[in-house]
């Protein structure tokens, strides 16, 4: 029996739409799912529902004609089904079908994407605290190690010992560098004001982070840097832009190829370009790559937010962002940003 503050619902269709609705409805306290049906026994939401203890069936009519149902949501996309529903449902049962259910389904998907975006941001913010905690715990013993090593250098003349201790110091400095990179990246999400930023330095810093994008690393890095290329931005945001572009480039080359980084300045404008010899972007995707959530990467690897963020940041500083690409040859992203007034 239905009561007033609980809505009993059945879902017709267990594909993508059914999955999205199932997830939404199980989270809503006022909704009870009486069952889900799909003619295809292997439809994904059926399995999911049975794990949750929700009745599943391939016999749509039996579900449609159940008593005490307030609402039938039809996300099968099958126009004939509307007639079947109309013929078998109880007179007081309402039906959400056709484009109305499509809108609901779109909305649910959108909401879950926003949630994953928030999750991402939270994860980054959390990483800031985490990273500075780690940095502290590494830096103490690292200091002890490096300082004793330096002391040995000062206290002995034996060239063999000198050589070995120098290697210890170098290794220690590498750990220090990694530590600094992690904290710097974690901090990049905090925003402050625009200042004059030395672009070449930021490119080097960003490369240190982006290199971790793939495990296979057979990269040739070509740098063609102009002298004193400065732009007026928030350094953390520029860093984010560069890390995103380089990460994409390195991923597109699957760790193997040539990454060319160029900078220059002309008429008060700082120019940066990042070119790869990777997969390239098909023409039909060029329009879409800056859209939030557009990704061609497998789940867990791509968020589809990288280029969207890049575009947003460049726009904020009244800069230009361009892309040229050829499938199978590679891709070049170019940025122009106003140079700091000297």
């Amino acid at each position: 029996m239905s009561n007033q503050d609980r809505t009993t619902v059945v879902i017709l269709g267990a594909g993508k739409g059914g999955t999205a609705l199932l997830e939404l409805f199980t989270r809503l306290p006022g909704v009870e799912i009486a069952g889900i049906a799909d003619q295809d026994a292997s439809a994904p939401a059926l399995q999911h529902a049975s794990q949750l203890g929700i009745p599943i069936t391939q016999d749509l009519v039996s579900l449609i004609s159940l008593q005490g149902i307030n609402l039938i949501v039809n996300v099968t996309g099958d126009p004939h089904l509307d007639l079947l529903v109309a013929a078998h449902k109880h007179p007081e049962t309402e039906v959400l079908g056709g484009s109305a259910s499509k809108v609901l389904w779109d909305f649910v998907q959108h909401a879950s994407q926003i949630q994953s975006q928030l999750f991402q941001t939270e994860k980054l913010a959390g990483m800031g605290t985490f990273a500075s905690g780690i940095a502290h715990d590494i830096n103490n013993p690292l200091y002890i190690l490096l300082a004793f090593a330096e002391n040995i250098l000062e206290e002995t003349d034996d060239p063999r010992i000198h050589e070995q201790v120098r290697s210890i110091i170098e290794a220690g400095k590498r750990i220090q560098g990694i530590c600094q990179n992690i904290t710097r990246y974690a901090r990049a999400t905090n925003t402050d004001n625009a200042i004059a930023v030395e672009v070449n330095e930021k490119l080097d810093e960003a490369l240190n982070i982006a290199r971790y994008a793939t495990t296979l690393q057979d990269l040739t890095i070509v740098k063609s840097f102009g002298e004193h290329v400065e732009v007026l931005v928030n350094p953390g945001e520029l860093f984010q832009v560069l890390v995103n572009l380089m990460t994409n480039a390195i991923q597109a080359m699957e760790g193997k190829g040539t990454l060319t980084l160029s900078t220059s300045c002309e008429n008060g404008v700082g120019k940066i370009s990042i070119a790869d010899t990777g997969s390239g972007i098909p023409t039909e995707n060029l329009e879409k790559i800056f859209d939030p959530f557009f990704t061609t990467k497998p789940l867990g690897q791509g968020t589809g937010l990288g280029l969207h963020n890049v575009k947003t940041i460049i726009k904020k500083y009244r800069g230009e962002l361009r892309v040229e690409s050829k499938v199978g040859k590679g891709t070049t992203f170019s940025i122009e940003l106003p140079r700091s007034p000297k």
């Binding site: 500075s132 502290h136 690292l142 190690l145 904290t183 901090r187």
Partner: protein, 144 residues
Amino acid sequence: MSESQTAGMFSGRESEGLVLVVDDESDVRKVVRMTLEKSGYDVVEAEDGEKAIEEIKKGENSILLNLIITDIRMPNMNGIDVINYYKKEWPSVPIIVLTGFPDVEMSTTMLQHGVSDYLVKPVESEKLRASVAKALEQREVRGF
């Protein structure tokens, strides 16, 4: 800087100054002591602020304390409280923070509170010595 000057420091009886080193990790204190003693400073160690005050008062004349080098994350006190703690006891003694926290905001706050330097571990011996020398110099200009 020059060889002869360094040698002079070693042979001379006179101390370059008394430095208090506060860190909860004994090897960190040992390393700082080693670095500074080579440049002719006298070093007193303590593992936290309270012990530091005890330690200095135990000595004959606590007036002779020239500089404090301290971590700001310690078991029973943290951050700016640590600085205020020393300021209350020894208002005119310069303080250098030596910490594992590479935190820009924290370092800005610290410098605003009159800390003379904010060094992040691992710090090179040369840099530590230079920072110590600068802190003591500034004090001479300001104080006496």
